[in-house]
């Protein structure tokens, strides 16, 4: 495990988590791939300002779960309410939710035929109907925040993995989302580049962004998350605040998982 960027002592506790404002509400959600029951009766309520880390063995359904939140995957039963909007087959609502929910992928998924700046301005211009000039201004702000404004006119192929992932974060932020989903954002990176991406994510957490993050960076979880969720075989097995989760896991499977990834 690489050393994570650290939130300075006490800072985390000062981050505001709303007690009334629900960002995401998943109720009795089930999903199947053909006959295979991938997500089993998921219940999860995320309050605004929460920073949740989801971990678990591969195939446990953690990616699938967060991909259901912006309808990259479709659930078959139960309810998902995002930002007060219930996810149904209604395309309008799906688009509405996608505008408010940013996503960062394991393999960055930048658009290779567009420059970094164009990657960042595309959705604000076409979806938010921003003028090109405003969109570029916003994009440059976020590119500065992820510390690569000087790369704006390059193409994704010319950047390192860590830089690409930071662009991907900036691209999502340009839509000014209220919730950010991270799907294993550092799993495809070289060890040297993990830190620069985690630092950007820590910055984001400090600003109070509601974040759901599938990751195996336990150091990041310990320092930034207010809640850690462990999933296995399509179910939520255990959740707790990070300190308790790591030092005092209750379920046998959690203990086994932690013993294997923490040395």
């Amino acid at each position: 495990m690489s050393e994570p960027a650290v939130l300075e002592g006490g800072k985390r506790s000062r981050l505001h988590i709303s007690t009334t404002d629900v960002a995401i509400d998943i109720i009795n959600m089930n999903k199947w791939y053909g006959d295979f029951h991938v997500l089993k009766n998921i219940n999860l309520k995320v309050m605004r300002g929460e920073r949740i880390v989801i971990c678990g063995p591969s195939g446990s359904g953690k990616s699938t779960m967060i991909r259901c939140i912006n309808r990259l995957e479709q659930h078959q039963s139960g309810n998902i309410v995002v930002d007060g909007i219930e996810l149904t087959n209604d395309l309008k609502r799906i688009d509405e939710i996608r505008r408010e929910v940013g996503m960062v992928f394991q393999h960055f998924n930048l658009f290779p035929h567009l420059t970094i700046l164009e990657n960042c301005t595309l959705a604000p211009i076409w979806v938010r109907r921003m003028s090109k000039r405003d969109a570029e201004k916003v994009a440059m702000e976020y590119l500065s925040r992820v510390r690569i404004p000087e790369q704006a006119n390059k193409y994704p192929g010319q950047l390192s993995g860590g830089q690409q992932q930071r662009v991907a974060i900036a691209r999502a932020l340009c839509m000014n989302p209220r919730i950010m989903l991270f799907d294993e954002p550092t799993s495809a990176l070289d060890p040297e580049m993990i830190k620069e991406v985690l630092e950007v994510m820590v910055d984001l957490a400090e600003e109070g962004m509601t974040m759901l993050c599938v990751t195996h960076e336990m150091g990041f979880a310990r320092q930034v998350a207010n809640r850690v969720i462990f999933m296995d075989a399509g179910q939520i097995i255990e959740q707790n605040e990070p300190e308790q989760f790591f030092t005092n896991p209750q379920h046998e499977r959690t203990k086994l998982f932690l013993s294997q990834i923490l040395h």
């Binding site: 996608r98 929910v101 994704p156 991907a168």
Partner: protein, 377 residues
């Protein structure tokens, strides 16, 4: 270096950066790797050189040195030892270009050609601005102008029926119309075939498989022989128009499969990233997926265009005389019958076809390089 006794090692100075050995660069390296890399390769190189020595000089002799460049009739071309009868091409050049298009109206064809080139050149050069207006001109304004100019009947221009059109004019009209229609139609069919909506998918598959399963000759035959049977009597539409529709639909089916290949080459992550940003289906396709998919299949698209360009010769079957057709037709002109006339005519046709296809090929390679942004994933 480390030895078995000395496991610890610390570098004291950087290794210098050296130039590669002489035999690893330049012409010598190229010849070593490409011409003489093995015994077989060396033998093939020698064989190739001998073959070229055997074929090229007589060809040059026929086409240039003993060719007949000027003359008024076959008398000039049947002298003993004469090569290509270029005088024949010179005398018939007008027909080869315009067919039987009314002599006094041929300036209209020239003007159409100039209007086309005036739109194509700035479009083809990436640095020239106003691409949007330029495309509008080429796809909307020019076709209307071309129809008015070529067909006539408006603005005091005498009507020239399409039965009189011929030569390179017909070749280009059929080829360009086919390309311009098959591209968007092919894209729509490819998207339709990958659609989630079963009805659209089914219709696309049926269309594509029908047109791909039928030879172009059959399509043209059906268009000219069978279509009139089904149409109510009195309705008779133009022979050239029928051929144009047949060729366009036929090549759309091929284009659809080429584009589908490109769509399949795009990683799922690209779709997901576009969707996650809230882009609608059509915006996602137009802004993210198609630009990448079409770039991947530029060689395939140009391949289709080139084969379409050459397939235009098949319109001969329905009584239209394209470049090749009109050249063949002129072989029977007794003023020019000579042993070398057909060979000369075919050589000229081959050269014109080759020229157009070669230009398309080179431009596609240039475009591929230009669009390469060096992304691997």
């Amino acid at each position: 270096m480390t030895t078995a006794h000395d496991l610890a090692y610390v570098r004291k100075e950087e290794e210098p950066i050296l130039a590669p050995p002489r035999h690893e660069v330049g012409a010598i390296k190229w010849m070593r790797t490409n011409l003489f890399s093995s015994a077989t390769n060396t033998a093939l190189t020698i064989f190739g050189i001998l073959f070229l020595l055997w074929t090229v000089p007589p060809l040059i002799n026929w086409a240039f040195i003993s060719a007949v460049w000027t003359g008024d009739s076959r008398e000039d071309c049947i002298v003993p030892g004469a090569g290509a009868c270029w005088a024949f091409v010179k005398a018939k050049f007008g027909q080869f270009m315009y067919g039987r298009y009314t002599l006094s109206e041929r300036w209209r064809v020239d003007l159409t050609g100039i209007l086309l080139i005036a739109g194509l050149i700035p479009m083809a050069i990436p640095r020239v601005p106003w691409k949007r207006q330029n495309a509008l001109y080429l796809l909307v304004v020019f076709p209307i102008l071309a129809v008015i100019l070529l067909l006539g009947g408006y603005f005091g221009l005498p009507y020239v029926e399409t039965a009189l059109w011929g030569g390179l004019l017909v070749t280009l009209v059929v080829a360009i119309t086919g390309m311009v229609i098959s591209m968007p139609l092919g894209i729509l069919l490819a998207l339709g075939r990958r659609s989630n909506l079963p009805v659209i998918r089914f219709l696309s598959v049926v269309f594509i498989e029908f047109w791909r399963g039928v030879p172009l000759i059959t399509v043209l035959f059906m268009a000219s022989v069978m279509l009139p049977i089904f149409l109510p009597p009195g309705v008779n539409f133009d022979k050239l128009l029928r051929a144009l529709i047949g060729v366009a639909l036929f090549s759309s089916a091929y284009m659809a499969e080429v584009v589908r290949g490109g769509l399949q080459a795009i990683a799922r992550g690209q779709y997901e990233a576009a969707q996650a940003l809230g882009l609608s289906y059509w915006r996602m396709m137009r802004l993210i997926i198609l630009p990448q998919a079409l770039k991947v299949v530029i060689p395939g698209i140009v391949n289709s265009f080139i084969s379409l360009f050459k397939d235009t010769s098949l319109v001969l079957i329905v009584g239209l005389f394209d470049l090749l057709g009109i050249i063949q037709l002129n072989f029977s002109d007794t003023t020019w019958t000579s042993p070398n006339t057909p060979a000369t005519g075919y050589a000229f046709a081959a050269f014109v076809f080759w020229l157009f296809c070669f230009l398309m090929s080179r431009y596609s390679i240039y475009t591929e390089r230009r669009l390469n942004t060096g992304y691997r994933r």
